[in-house]
Amino acid sequence: MAQKTYAGKTVDVNEEDYFTNPSQWTKEIAVEIAKEEGIVLTEQHFAIMEFLRNRFNSGEALSIRSINHSGVIDVKTFYQLFPGAPLKKATKIAGIPKPVSCI
């Protein structure tokens, strides 16, 4: 199992740098991962990450369309906040596994 150090804390990650233990995540860590992705986090980023973390913790599948139902932002804004591959980036920064809803 690989490890990485963010904000002075060591966390467990997989081969693609996704957290394998979401409880190790903190907001300070998120800020540092976001920096690697070229993103400066705002309140909106944190709000949607909280939605994603809650959804993950309750065992539900994550998908881009679920963002429209988050009550936080719509998909268009999601793309603006995490450009390119929003769900992939947002889950990485939020310290939860990459969504495997496909198979």
Partner: protein, 410 residues
């Protein structure tokens, strides 16, 4: 007399009717199944229709052939589930009471949820192949098509049979080569995922297969709308992909009755425990197959493996015992890759598809994550298994839980 009520007689509901009738005494338990369709489609067969390999009659049988004796069949649409009264209201207003309810109402495509998808080009240049109507319309279109941009687009997960769009791409390559017009067809695979698949090993293998077959991938594309005038699809990030023929795998939702009955998530999938398959709201309600919000594949194999778990848990529930069986997310499928070959994958909630042999180590006979002719024959033969063994709840020589035997790890 206690009452077990099953909603939906697709793959999952039919298997459960067969299994539970065997397990529950006819003196103590009545079993009723409600289904609006009179016919049962072998859904894996939809893939073959656009290319003319199957027609409707090859994949259709009367649903009644698969119900065991001693199960009452009600042919009706469902209006609402009233959990406070433990009953289900049918379209004609009659109600059916239950002591235990199994929801197996499946999933359906919802093209109206994407702007421009189901408008003037629908069934002219835009098709689905997840319905018999869509698959047949596409077959008609392909017969005379002169070529151009063929775009295969997955709107978003979850979708039924997540490998079907890939199989479609492989078959399209095969089909247009055989027709001698592959040079006139540009095939583009447009997906909201970051590759052919999300799980690394399968994604790499399938991604390189797409490349070898000269199929372009556009990844991380979440469709926002279809421009019918200029024939292109647009994503929210501002990207565009032009098409002459769009094969869409639209958004999927649960049965409308789920939302109406307040049992589902925002897409109408029943909220249930991914391991016990029990509804999170009502202890006497269980869910199986595509109808649930489980983070597993929406596929027949999943329904089949879940059925063993659900059978045990319902018996535990009846005997006031804690639910002991736990579904591990096990799924497997054949992936047709064209030219008489296929791949097989086998995985669960936590283990990604790995190479190896299935179901037995050393002898297989099926090869995991590898193209073989035997895998293709397995897929063709599976239709017989489906009608004769699987739907009837009979045992297959495979385990419900995923096994690591025969799999190769790094």
């Amino acid at each position: 007399m206690k009452k077990l009520l099953i909603l939906g007689a697709g793959t999952a509901g039919t298997i459960m009717a067969n299994k539970m009738r065997k397990e529950l005494s006819g003196q103590e338990w009545s079993i009723t199944i409600v289904e609006k369709e009179m016919n049962h489609f072998y859904q894996p067969g939809f893939l073959f229709i656009p290319f003319g390999y199957y027609t409707r009659t090859d994949i259709l049988k009367p649903a009644r052939k698969f119900f065991p004796k001693g199960v009452k069949v009600v042919n009706s649409e469902i209006e609402k589930i009233d959990t406070s009264q433990n009953n289900v209201i049918l379209k004609n207003g009659t109600t059916i009471d239950y002591d235990i309810l199994i929801i197996a109402t499946g999933t359906r495509i919802s093209p109206e949820d994407t702007r421009g998808l189901k408008e003037e080009l629908w069934f002219k240049n835009i098709f689905d192949f997840y319905t018999i109507e869509g698959a047949e319309a596409l077959a008609g279109f392909f017969k005379t098509w002169q070529g151009g941009n063929l775009v295969i687009n997955i709107a978003d997960n979850p979708i039924k049979c997540p490998v079907a769009p890939l199989e479609f791409a492989f078959y399209a390559d095969d089909y247009f080569i055989r027709k001698g017009m592959r040079d006139k067809v540009k095939i583009t695979y447009v997906t909201p995922m970051s590759g052919a698949f999300t799980k690394p090993k399968a994604s790499k293998m399938l991604g390189s297969l797409l490349e070898r077959k000269n199929i372009n991938i556009v990844s991380d594309f979440f469709i926002g709308e279809v421009d019918n005038t200029n024939k292109k699809i647009l994503d929210f990030g501002g990207r565009e992909v032009p098409f002459d023929c769009l094969v869409s795998i639209p958004l999927h939702t649960g049965d409308p009755v789920i939302s109406k009955s307040r049992l589902g998530d925002e897409f109408g999938f029943v909220k249930a425990d991914k391991n016990t398959l029990q509804s999170v709201m009502n202890k006497n309600i269980f869910v199986i197959g595509d109808a649930g919000n489980f983070p597993s594949s929406k596929a027949g194999s999943v329904a089949h493996f879940q059925a063993d778990v659900l059978e045990k848990n319902i018996l535990d529930f009846i005997h006031n015992k804690p639910l002991t069986a736990s579904f591990d997310g096990h799924s497997n499928c054949y992936i047709e890759t064209g030219f008489g070959k296929g791949i097989m994958i086998d995985f669960n909630y936590t283990t990604e598809p790995l190479p190896g042999l299935y179901p037995l180590p050393v002898v297989g006979p099926f090869s995991l994550l590898k193209e073989t002719r035997l895998n293709h024959l397995g897929k063709l033969f599976f239709k017989w298994i489906y009608w004769n063994i699987l739907l009837k709840g009979r045992k297959l020589p495979v385990t419900s839980y995923m096994s690591m035997a025969g799999k190769k790890q790094d």
